[in-house]
Amino acid sequence: MVPTIMKQGRWVPFFYLLPALIIMFIFIVYPMFNTFVLSFMDKRGTLPAATSCVEGEPCWGNLENYRYALTSNTMLTALRNNSLWLILMVPGTVIAGLLFAVLADQVRYEALAKSIIFMPMAISFIGAGIIWRFVYYIETGRGEQIGILNAFIVGFGGKPIAWLSTPPINNIALMVVGIWLWSGFCMTILSAALKAVPSEILEAARVDGANELSVFFKIILPLIMPTIVVVTTTMVINVLKIFDIVFVMTGGNFSTEVIANRMFNLIVTDTGRSMAIAVLLVVLTIPIMIFNVYRFRQQEAMR
């Protein structure tokens, strides 16, 4: 509560709030409505979407762009890939981050080891894409393999693999880049939660004869569960919006398309469809938005 002595006039708060509110309104709230409206328009965003229907082909009237967003082959691939990213990359980053946080906690060079895992967070996704394009590079001519992964395979007598153009392996290859990028983020937050677990509880359990595994799964894990949930929801958002990695590494070709990349590719050529995809993206994030607000209200109630 604000101390009574600090009471102010009715309008004073708005002088402090106004610049922020105006800018957020112009750049976030208004465009959301506008995007929603545009998603019912045609290619150029001037006529109703129904005008872009072709005689004799399925059409959803003014929801035509949503027909594209939900049923076209490219978008089905994108939706399937985003689901794959969700299923594989979110647990991948959280588990890798947790594992490393637990391991690094036990050694003296913890800070150094954690910096190394965390470092990819400092660089751009585009830069990371270049780093990994080089790792996955395949020399198709007679020259030597200069990508380390294929050099490794050839060194053991195998045949080089076109990592980025062979489905479904290319999707996995892209997700590895995502895990490489984001594990450090998960590790940092989970590591802070681990350190906050009171050591007395752990000592007591060990004295009672619990082994390390059951200490971890029965005591530590439940205690840091709230943090795991926060990290997971953040990762879900990140994965839904995944774009740069795919854009720079495969451009969404070879069935690696994702929602955000499709949206970007259509921005100029077909505004209506692009906006319908943007709306779809927002709809997918709404459950997490609600969850975050709910969690925030709970926290505030506890203050």
């Binding site: 402090y16 965390f118 967070m121 270049i130 200069i146 955000a260």
Partner: protein, 405 residues
Amino acid sequence: MNPFSRLNSFFNRLPVNLAIIVMCLIWIIPTLGLFITSFRTSEDVRTSGWWTAFSPKKPVGVKEYNAYCASCHGQDGKGVLKADLTDSTLLEKYPRSNRLLGMLRQPINGKPHLIIPELPQKPTDALELLTPIVTYMQSLNSKQGFVQSQFTLRNYADALVGYKGTQDYSTDCEQKVPSTLAKFKCRWTDLLNPEGMGRAFLNTIAVAIPSTILPILIAAFAAYAFAWMDFKGRMWLFALLVGLQIVPLQMTLVPIARLYVNLGLQSTFLGIWLFHTGFGLPYAIYLMRNFIGSLPREVFESVYLDGANHFTAFWQMVLPLSTPAIASLAIFQFLWIWNDFLVAKIFLSSNPVLTVQITNLIDPRGGNWHIMTGAAFLSFIIPMIVFFAFQKTFVRGLLAGSVKG
């Protein structure tokens, strides 16, 4: 301490140490590869992996040379007096395999140049075979002997000026290659070439600094109101803000782009500053409000008893006390903007920032890895410095709030 217990504890910890070290290696090798490659010559990059950079170089083309040329020209290239392969004036006529092929297809003394073994009929096959031979002949001629790999900064020069020719920028300037002179002046002003990373670097700085300061300043005011002022709908408005934090950026691109066209703000720095401010605000306000709100209320009560009003309390007390939060936020926002690609690609395409410029330099066939790696590293320098210098502050910011995206 008993020496055995120490040894014992080391062996108990061995799996843990091994796991950590292996994971760290996996994490660092891709970046290390890029870093080392950025200092290798384009020839080396094309013909051998970066992990061989420190070992003596395998001579290229020995096998091919021995099969086709050594029988007449000899191991050292001096076998034919009229065609001494170590003679640089002769070699300069055949800088590439296609020239060499042209010459080899000509008869010599009325007989075909090559009889046993014959060159492959298909030109592409023949050229592929001749490339290592050209390299080998050049190594015969070279005084340094090509045995040890050389490291160079030329890739960085190429990336900085945006050189796209077939040799490298410095060599072209020395040899006064016309196509290069048409585009470059071979002076420091080349760094400002719109297609180069040097110019992109400046553009990125011009985008990142105002886009970091502006939202934090505006957010501080709003955060103060949310934390220490009483008004109707305070909680409601703030809950909305929490929701806004994760609105996907994609949602707003087209309407804002259209707005900018009408206002004449498209492809201007002002336009991108404002956009980043808009998207930075929800998270910045959230984080600042949590920090300012946790300052002890007794401090506020006492300054108010001394006659302060909201503005003096904010300006003279809250802002200085919020330095840790501001620092975390600044680093966060700065890195976010420095590394942004999507917003810059759409709103500032005429003045490409580093991330956009890198994608402009990509050669889909993978022929310019030496430049790409240099370019990528140029874009990493500043964020790496910021990251390692302020890692603690960065982590604090990460932990203080949820995370923007």
